[in-house]
């Protein structure tokens, strides 16, 4: 494991009172990788990040290793990590430069050296102009950049970010998401960030670990995660896939509204899902699957059509914006290439 920047071995966290926020889990983050911890709220992703940081102690038996060295017993101030908090937690009694230089100041670095490093890091984060500002004079996006600069100024071994974009409004979030991805790569540092937003995780991370109920259920590259989800829950959570139900017979999936091609071989208890982009509306004469439109929502670049009666549950299909699909109409459906997701039937924890 000495090549890994971060390695977790059997790390779990039970809170006083008995709630187990993180179940025993293993995770390896190679040097220089940007890992996203993705999951719904309450899945334990922030607790896992705090365990890596040293803000929480794992239950006995768990080990946290940085570069192969056991740091389990080290508190956060001795772990040499850089941390970006959800609220950014900038010190209101210091200027931007004071904030960025703080980690160096408490380490006893000489003034001139601090000033030079602060200037360098602020330039790296495109925030040089903010150096003498007070924290309350910064916009949300500026705060995020200063928090990032403060965390990397001490040249940490790993950078940890807790929901770094959630404090921003939606319009800003998308722009800063790409900016953050660029900055993290510019730092060339091992980074772990927590998010509940799958688009954020897929856009920023080299690899995404999906968490559910205290467990890491799948850790993969964004493409692999999207193309081959480990189970139905991951497929639903990442990309909003819907269960089709049905039974397989003769290379076809038989559904209430017809059939879809499903060439085997399949595991005996496989499950079939489809994302909104996996199906397309088709002429009823060519379609093998038919359903009734219950709602059609115009989203500008596409028409989101909800369809009943085709599969066992409701289906959502992203059609071309000019498609004809009025509520009540019966429409034909066609599978797009690679649209069908097949996952093994797995027991789902509550």
């Amino acid at each position: 494991m000495s090549g890994a920047a971060i390695a977790l071995e059997g790390v779990a966290r039970t809170f006083p009172g008995g709630a187990q926020a993180v179940r025993p889990c293993a995770l390896v983050v190679p040097q220089g990788e940007i890992l996203g911890l993705l999951g719904p709220s309450g899945c334990g992703k922030t607790t896992l990040l705090r365990l890596i940081a040293g803000l929480e102690r794992p239950d006995p038996g768990g080990r946290v290793l940085f570069d192969g060295r056991d740091v389990t017993r080290l508190p956060v101030e001795a772990r040499h990590v850089g941390m970006v908090f959800q609220s950014y937690a900038l010190f209101p009694n210091m200027t931007v430069a004071g904030n960025v230089g703080y980690g160096l100041r408490v380490r006893g670095v000489r003034r001139a050296e601090i000033a030079a490093r602060v200037e360098e890091v602020l330039a790296l984060c495109d925030a040089s102009a903010l150096a003498s500002r007070r924290v309350d004079q910064l916009s949300g996006g500026q705060r995020q950049r200063v928090a990032l600069a403060r965390a990397v100024a001490v040249r940490p071994r790993v950078l940890l970010l807790d929901e770094p974009l959630s404090a921003l409004d939606a319009a800003l979030r998308e722009r800063l998401r790409d900016e953050l991805a660029t900055l993290l790569r510019r730092f060339a540092i091992t980074a772990v960030f927590v998010t509940h937003d799958q688009a954020e995780a897929l856009a920023i991370a080299d690899r995404v670990a999906v968490m559910r109920a205290g467990r890491i259920v799948q850790a993969d590259t964004p493409r692999a995660l999207y193309a081959a989800p480990a189970d139905a829950w991951v497929a639903r959570f990442v990309g909003g896939a819907a269960d089709l139900g049905g039974v397989v017979s003769d290379g076809s999936l038989l559904l209430p509204g017809g059939r879809l091609p499903a060439p085997g071989p399949h595991a005996p208890r496989a499950r079939f899902l489809v994302r909104p982009g996996g199906l397309d509306l088709a002429d009823r004469s060519e379609a093998t699957l038919v359903g009734a439109v219950t709602r059609a929502t115009f989203l500008g670049d596409r028409l989101r059509v909800e369809i009943d009666g085709a599969a066992e549950g409701a289906l959502v299909v992203d059609a071309a914006p000019d498609a004809a699909a009025a509520p009540g109409a019966r429409v034909g459906l066609r599978l797009r290439p690679g649209g069908l997701i097949v996952v093994p039937e797995a027991e789902e924890a509550p």
């Binding site: 908090f85 959800q86 937690a89 009694n93």
Partner: protein
């Protein structure tokens, strides 16, 4: 004039009447009275040159200042503990700590005598254990303890309210940057609490400067300025001197608080 403007003015009327009748008028009368003695306004010069008065003023300022600092130290540590730890009996403890708010100075003085007087608990213990004498109730030490006793709850409640509003992520951020407990306290916690510390410290100081009941209960010869004023006024019937001393006490308290506030304000602004 628009109707709602008129209403706003009307709403200020009760305060204006109160301030005029019960604040400004007596204050003006007090200042006038200080100039109506045989030596007129030259009395202020005599008062300021009187070594006994000045010693009393110095002692009042000293004991009030020490009480404020001690109350801040005790209450801040207690507040940080009480805000961060949840334990059995916590609310009872908070209730107990704020109990002295309900006591008048006389009762506080009485309790100090029960503790440190000639028949007090401490003296009895010292006599039985070490065959020594331990009496401190009738001195500045007793007064200091009494004032501290009723200053702590005022400071504690204010600082607790402020400590609860501190963002815990700020301290975690400082720790993640390598700051130890002392650095976190110095750079994050105390600057965050500074406004509450200044405000509650000022209240403690002003209260101690003017407190009378405790001193009066402990001993009639403790030289703090409120006691001197009382003696001049009731025993010597020296109304002009008592009035002049009152004005001096008020001005000195106000000036010291003003200095403390602007100093603390500058320190908060320049912090970091």
């Amino acid at each position: 004039m628009r109707a709602d403007d008129r209403f706003t003015l009307l709403a200020a009327l009760p305060l204006a009447i109160f301030a005029g009748a019960f604040l400004l008028l007596p204050l003006a009368r007090l200042i006038m009275a200080s100039g109506e003695g045989p030596s007129g306004w030259a009395l202020y010069g005599q008062v300021l040159a009187n070594p006994r008065y000045m010693r009393a003023l110095g002692q009042t300022v000293a004991v009030s200042g020490l009480v404020s600092l001690a109350a801040l130290a005790v209450a801040t540590t207690a507040a940080l503990f009480l805000v961060r730890r949840r334990f059995f009996g916590r609310s009872v403890l908070i209730g107990l700590l704020t109990f002295p708010l309900a006591f008048p100075g006389v009762v506080v003085g009485f309790m100090i005598i029960l503790l440190g007087g000639r028949q007090g608990l401490m003296n009895a213990l010292a006599r039985d254990l070490f065959d020594a004498r331990l009496v401190f109730a009738y001195s500045m030490t007793g007064l200091f303890l009494g004032y501290l006793y009723f200053s702590i709850p005022r400071v504690l409640l204010t600082v607790m309210a402020a400590a609860e509003k501190l963002d815990p992520a700020l301290e975690e951020a400082a720790r993640s940057l390598g700051a130890g407990p002392v650095a976190v306290l110095r750079d994050v916690t105390l600057p965050g609490l500074a406004p509450a510390l200044v405000a509650s410290g000022a209240v403690a100081f002003a209260t101690a400067m003017g407190a009378f009941g405790t001193a009066f209960t402990l001993a009639t010869n403790i030289d703090v300025l409120p006691m001197v004023i009382y003696t001049e006024f009731t025993l010597a019937a020296n109304i002009a001197t008592a009035a002049a001393l009152s004005v001096v006490l008020g001005l000195v308290t106000w000036a010291l608080l003003f200095l403390a506030r602007s100093f603390a304000g500058a320190a908060v602004a320049a912090g970091g």
